[in-house]
Symmetry: C2
Amino acid sequence: MGRPRGFDEEAVTAAAAALFAARAYDGVGVDDLVQQLGVHRNSLYKTFGSKRGLYLVALRWYSRHVLVPLADRLATGADTERCIADLVGRNDLDLLLLAAVERAPADAEVASVVAETLQLLQRALDRASADRGRITLSEILGERLRARAVFAPSDDDSVD
Amino acid sequence: MGRPRGFDEEAVTAAAAALFAARAYDGVGVDDLVQQLGVHRNSLYKTFGSKRGLYLVALRWYSRHVLVPLADRLATGADTERCIADLVGRNDLDLLLLAAVERAPADAEVASVVAETLQLLQRALDRASADRGRITLSEILGERLRARAVFAPSDDDSVD
DNA sequence: CGCATTTAGGAACGATCGTTCTTGACTGAT
DNA sequence: ATCAGTCAAGAACGATCGTTCCTAAATGCG
């Protein structure tokens, strides 16, 4: 009963995760979310409760649907180098980096998700490099941090 | 001529660096700065031009007066382990981490300072561990990131 | 067909953001 | 002592923040 929702909740969650990975939490306004996600304010607050609620859902979705598969692929031990190169070269780790540095110190729930996700990656890496054991998770995180630490004008800087 | 200023510019810069190291850039309001630095709005804008201006001055001051000495101590090669343990265990790296992850992608000048500072640390570490060469700068950054990724209720959360 | 219910679309809220302006107090040079 | 010039103190600005409210449109069920 009632009018059916005109958006895919998971797609919105994924898009929110992408936004929060590109900018800092406080740098992403609800207006940005509404505009880029195609969901309107009311639906957003009805579905996720608050901006922080959406952030937490997006963070958990990202951990489960982006990093867990990546950790699984890593844990098999095949293509380890390729996996690590992807982690450093692509932006898959960015939301985790931002959450760890910026939100976790101020938000216990975020800190909890970050801790679990880090453990997850740690175990996968331990398994992957049980024999080849050279690179550490810290080093991967540091490498990605350095790769991210460059000025990269975002696409919507020229948007009205 | 004129009334002499009632604050120490360098002390204010250092205090601002500490604030920006604890919270994210957007998480530190001008009100926070005014309140915790003891400087009043007018003086702050007269001296530093803007919030971003103060941030840049604080970041450069921090690079020069905190990380450069630390890099020098590291480059001597004496007490290398102690130096690294300090980098990971204390919060000396935090402003650099935040600047790298959060501000650099959105601010070219910040990115420039971060890049120079990272090079600085890299060279110092290269010199320090020319013989013992084990830990990388990326690993130190990653270690500190993980150490920071815990919920740490800040002192002024209970302040009115 | 209506009735109940949920969504979409925006206007609007108070609060806070970074910044500027106004006013008065203080000091150094004439 | 007086005047110019700087600083302190805080009110006030428009803009934007996260959030809520109101109204109209769209569906499943009787």
